[in-house]
Amino acid sequence: MKEDEIDEIREGQERRLLKAWKVPEGWRYWSEVNNSEVGMWYTLTSLGFFFFAGVLALLIRIQLAVPDNDFLTADQYNQIFTMHGTVMMFLFAIPIFEAISILLLPQMLGARDLPFPRLSAYGYWCFLLGGIFVCGSLFFGAAPKGGWFMYPPLTSNYQPGVGADIWLLGLTFIEIASIAAAVELIVGILKCRPPGMRINLMPIYAWYILVVAIMILFAFPPLIAGDILLEMERAFDWPFFDERRGGNPLLWQHLFWIFGHPEVYIIFLPSIALLATIIPTFSRVHLVGHSWVVLSAVGTGFLSFGLWVHHMFTTGLPGVSLGIFSAASQAVAIPTGVQLFCFLATLLTGHFIKSVPMLFALGGMATFVIGGLTGVMVAIAPFDFQAHDTFFVVGHLHYVLIGGSVFPILAGIYYYAPIVSGKKLSERLGRLCFWLVIIGFNVTFFPMHASGLLGMPRRVYTYPAEMGIGGLNLISTIGAFILGAGFLVLLWDILRPKSKQPYSERNPWGAGTMEWAMKIPDRMWGVRSIPLIKTRYPLWDQPNFIKDIDHGNFYLPDAEEEMRETLITSTLDAHPIQCMRVPGPTFVTHLAALFSGGFFIFATYHWWIPTIISGILAVIFIVYWLWTGTAWIPEKNEKNVGMGVSLPIYKSGPLAAGWWAMFITMLADMTAFISLIFGYFFYWTVQENFPPQKIAGPEFLWPVTGAGLLLFSWILTKLSWKWNRENKTKRFYSSLLTASLMSLAGGIAFLAGPWVHKMDPTVHVYQAIVWVLVIWTALHAVLGSLMQVYCLARRMAGRMTALYDADITNVSLYACFMAVTGIITALVISGFPAIGR
């Protein structure tokens, strides 16, 4: 073909791509859902919460600067320190990694977007709404004040007032958004890689995020289960944590820390992932020990779930339990050490290049190592008996969180600024920020190790002069302001007007990984064509790589139907298997988030009618979103995606992204359910008489009936799937309708169990936990019924056919989990009392 003809073709391709990926203008801009916009909003909002919590920290330090200070009252201080921890952990540390991943992962994986853009948009709006709600409480003097960990009985029985409820419900709302992001990231990493990016060629950042997202699935649900129990006790007096009626405050601690310990690794690992990406760039070599680093990430992820009791060393548990957790908590230092040594090795092997990101990276590692060492110290149970709940731990946790998480994020901000805004940040300001931050940080937090061991407990609004720690505290306060100054410099560097500054050159740092293939400033198509990958560092090792992308010589160089498309590939070897269309801008996610939020927010104030209305509206909007935004029947079966390959546009079943999303979400859901079951058996373990002899119910009839109904509902759903494929419409409709009625009936049957036996959940925790389990099962049954009806409607409306059957496939999967939930509930509440008594 002639030059001109080729150019014309390319121009046409670019025009169509730009049309498909066009970002709306004016106020409609906020309806955008693609990962670049959502990721940027997410990042800026998270940083906003970081600065808010940072100001709270300065208030804390002013109050603690001198003994017996009265800058803040006790009540104000208790709200402020609770909010500082809560906002930092839930509204900054987790969201920032999700934000950065949403922003950058598709670039790193050569994908045009994440697989479920509306889901990440929904997650963002939930996060924004929930965050403002929780933070706003502080301005009304109604903030939670039980510490970020909210131990009952203080928070269940001794803090009337809406603060604790805001924490419980506001955070549950936000956590759901986090789980949604995790689901999307897992599917994105496993299914949306560019062709040829086999699992061994996947960027190390993606490995870390995969591990972390899977951790979220198993770590967040126990907290959600605990939140449900604590809120039920506060709102309805169900005695889960009231020892006078069979409850036990330690159950909360177990559930909270089964979440809480992996949580800190969920915060730490993505930041280390940034280091693993940045260090090779400035050493000009491949990461040394790539497999070792992968092993360490996976190993740390698993091991972190076996450490939680080290937060409970002083609760009076038997020595042998303490010993087990102490050993495991020390062992986790090994994979952490491996990672750091691999980074050192990369530096040593390569040709080191000075830069602001590397300053933060190196400073961060040195700081983190101090935190890691004090971490091994507090992992040692005997030492922890002294250090627990003192400022020694405050020192430790800030060293690991700031050294291991914030410093790498600062490195990431300076490194990735050209991708996000097209312009580099200032080197001079970056260095100033670094020195202020590292000096300020150490001056603030190092003395805390001493003040803690000299007797200063945590969460105290003041301390006596005779403790002799006034000087140390004053030093910490001075350091805090230096640290604050450093962050102000950062804020200025981000916000200062840069209109006169030229755009950065392409790939300004000379990196080797895919995200730097983009033009700067970027075009909205994400990647001009989806490349074929042959190495881990394609920009270094694949000749003509950038040119080929730019000229559209790879996959999907065009958007012939002007729709947003990206490639789905196989998990291990990234063979292309589907050309997936993803939805574009919409406001339905906003409405769904608004009413989901309304459900939780009205419930906080016990305004039940608005709560129910909000909940119903949320469901309606979510159904509308699913109806209009998912499982589109394409106008043709296959299309040409370039490089001589033709791919289906629609996939259902275990290879499809939607099926994976359902499966992963149900893993998280089952984890929350198992946490509630754990609660049941925990009560049995710590009490002599459980289930109590004189309390009857729920016996066998109703729970077993319920389980049977749910089981049959699943079987019928599976048959419906088969009949849909075979176009046996009468059988399809009747079996699915029966299935949905059975789900409903099953839910009612479960509720009948404790109802018929007049089990009063406020009398003893046994009744309460049985009620919680049946309500959980019943809610899932109702949801299942709704989903089954949805499939009926889809078929009737012609949006689901024999060939295009993703809806019934995914609902079938859900029904399986629903049946398993029912069976386990029945086994536990009916079967266990029979043998346990």
């Binding site: 699992i199 060629l201 092993l295 996976v298 190993g299 042998v320 087990i324 050993a327 190495t535 070897d573």
Partner: protein, 118 residues
Amino acid sequence: MITRHSLWLLALSPVVWSLHFTAVYITAAIWCAKFPGTDLLKVRHLTAIYTVIALAVVSMQVFYGYRKHRSSDTHAHHKDSLEGRERFLGLTQLLISGLSFLAITYNAYAVYVFRSCE
């Protein structure tokens, strides 16, 4: 042949570790809750059984991982080929199984330090 299940194999050893960990912790916790003040002899016996089984499974994983890893030439795990991918998975399997082995051993040791339920 080489199937999707290979990725799950990566998780096998850590899952064995977590099962062992849970079994040991629950055994000790329930024993000490139901029979406070007694000695830990039975718990130690059960721990030994769990540990032997767990270490056996994990050792097999170490062996298989090593074999997969050594099945072709060195430095192949960053190569774009089925071999390379297998070699990478083999090495990672070997390493994670080694770590699990270590963690299981530490866990079992911790039980033996204690005589009674205090």
